[in-house]
């Protein structure tokens, strides 16, 4: 083995390699350091908040102390109030999401897969999209009363548009060259839709899914302000009557935790469904 030859061959770079390695190690240390420092400022804010509450600078009727909020959260969980409220709100959002997602995707398929379907569906969807849907609440109350229906429908309406728009543009954005390939492979229309069009539209549909889940929680929060007698929104409104800012903050934290959770679920789904793309990107 010409070890000497190899050494001579790499001599010009010999000084460079350790330096590169050192730089990489340095970057790793720095990024680890950056990660640990990122906790400092939020913790500081909580500490200042706690101190302000303790010293009376921040009265509890404006904002409860973090320690009070934590204690209240524990109480609400123990008494079963919070789990019940979450269950009610979750059911509204799931029902609304299921109905809205089904409607959005079915309409996108109708509009995306044929010119006639597009002419029938797309103008209406584009017109409805321009409506501020929270402005529909008065009409929804007149039409559906103040029970569960208007709340679920508001979530469904909010969910359907991002899924419709993204799925529709995903279908239309499928590479025409792949459609041509399908023709040379003698794929029928059903096989073309199944093997080329739908999988091709999937990445964009998943973008729509994430958007629609975000807007679903938003719509739920708004909908639950309408005469709710159960759920997170009711819990928050009820707390307002009694100036319980601790309960309000607990409710808000639960909303955001649920939002983050559903977002994580979609990301998990993306990783599984778009594996063909991930391996390419991580190369």
């Amino acid at each position: 083995m010409s070890v000497a030859g190899i050494e001579t061959g790499t001599a010009p770079h010999a000084g460079g390699a350790p330096a590169v390695r050192a730089a990489a190690v340095g970057a790793a240390v720095r990024s680890a350091g950056r990660r640990s420092y990122r906790w400092v400022s939020p913790v500081a804010v909580v500490l200042v908040w706690q101190a302000a509450s303790g010293s009376g600078l921040l009265p509890a009727r404006l904002l409860a102390a973090p320690s009070q909020i934590a204690a209240t959260a524990l109480d609400l969980v123990r008494s079963g109030t919070l789990p019940t409220a979450i269950a009610v709100s979750l059911e509204r959002v799931l029902l609304g999401f299921a109905a809205g997602a089904a409607a959005g995707i079915v309409l996108a398929l109708v509009a995306g897969l044929s010119r006639a379907g597009e002419n029938a569906v797309d103008p209406i969807m584009q017109m409805l999209r321009a409506l501020p849907f929270f402005g529909l609440i008065p009409l929804f109350i007149l039409w559906f009363g103040i029970g569960e229906t208007p709340k679920v429908l508001l979530v469904a309406l909010a969910v359907s548009f991002p899924l419709y728009l993204n799925t529709f543009s995903g279908i239309r954005g499928v590479d025409a060259k792949l459609a041509e390939l399908a023709r040379t492979l003698r794929l029928g229309r059903a096989a073309l839709v199944r093997h080329i069009v739908l999988p091709g539209a999937l990445p964009q549909t998943l973008v729509g899914l994430r958007q629609s889940l975000g807007v679903a929680w938003l719509a739920l929060i708004v909908a639950e302000q309408i005469n709710a007698d159960a759920g997170l929104g009711y819990m928050i409104n009820d707390a307002r009557e009694f100036l319980r800012t601790d309960v309000i903050v607990v409710g808000l934290l639960v909303y955001s935790a649920l939002g983050l959770l559903t977002d994580a679920l979609v990301r998990l789904l993306e990783r599984r469904a778009l594996g063909w793309r991930r391996e390419f990107l991580s190369r």
């Binding site: 060259k177 792949l178 041509e180 390939l181 399908a182 023709r183 040379t184 492979l185 003698r186 794929l187 096989a191 093997h195 080329i196 999988p199 091709g200 999937l202 594996g275 063909w276 793309r277 391996e279 390419f280 190369r283």
Partner: protein, 257 residues
């Protein structure tokens, strides 16, 4: 224009004994015309491809090479004239056009209407040397691997006519040489008629039984290449043909300007 045809079309018997007398041609095109707006790109083109014949189609850009190939592939609904293709046609495109969300093996079996598609796909992948990539995602393949997978996908259909639309033009020079050899091996093993659209004169001379030059919307020139394969670039027949071909394509011989 006066077509200079050193070898008449009727004499263009393919090498390798593939053109069996009395057998229907693999493809027969009569008076094919395709207009884009008012401009005819193909203008009454006639072409016959014998069974098992390897035809290379050259022409300046815009001469209608790809238009003719797309017409034969059944991808053009606006051509006028008669196209008769005897049996199945398969296409390998310039970009491999692998379906990115299907693993390599599933790309081969897509639309494959034959018993035991998975086993056929694996056999075809073995032929092009991609056995170990059968389960890979297409986006992780190199350019050469992707093009070989594309060839395997075309051949697994056992076509009577294989259409190759500049499939080697995006490959680097070394990969191209190995894929050329692979194509000749596959052609010898499966015996489809081949129509290769290319802009590479040397590629055409290395591979084809017959080299056509498209000009004015028709087959303006046709040469039969009889040199035995594997062909050496410097074979004296090929050198002469090369000069003639370049002249037909509007490139004068070196040192004559």
């Amino acid at each position: 224009m006066a077509a200079r045809v050193p070898v008449p079309l009727s004499d263009a018997a393919p090498a390798g004994g593939a053109g069996r007398p009395g057998e229907a041609p693999a493809a027969s095109v009569r008076r094919l015309t395709r207009r884009f707006g008012d401009r005819p790109v193909l203008d009454g083109l006639d072409l016959t491809i014998a069974p098992g014949e390897f035809v290379a189609l050259l022409g300046r850009s815009g001469s209608g090479k790809s238009t003719l190939l797309r017409a034969l592939a059944g991808l053009d609904d606006e051509v006028e004239g008669d196209i008769e293709v005897d049996g199945s046609v398969a296409v390998a495109f310039q970009e491999p056009r692998l379906v990115p969300w299907k693993r390599v093996r599933d790309n081969l079996t897509l639309g494959l209407d034959a018993p035991g598609p998975a086993a056929r796909a694996d056999a075809a992948l073995a032929e092009v040397g991609l056995t170990e990539r059968a389960g890979a995602w297409p986006l992780t393949l190199s350019g050469g691997e992707a093009q070989r997978a594309s060839l395997a996908r075309a051949l697994v259909r056992e076509p009577r006519l294989l259409l190759l639309d500049e499939p080697f033009s995006a490959l680097d020079a070394l990969t191209r040489i190995t894929v050329h050899r692979l194509v000749l091996d596959l052609w010898a093993a499966h015996g489809p008629a081949v129509l290769l659209v290319t802009h590479d004169v040397d590629e055409a001379l290395a591979l084809a039984d017959r080299v056509l030059v498209l000009d004015g919307g028709r087959v303006a020139h046709s040469w039969t290449v009889t040199a035995p394969r594997p062909r050496h670039r410097d074979h004296h027949d090929l050198l002469a043909l090369r000069t003639a071909l370049l002249a037909a394509l509007g490139v004068p011989p070196e040192g004559t300007e």
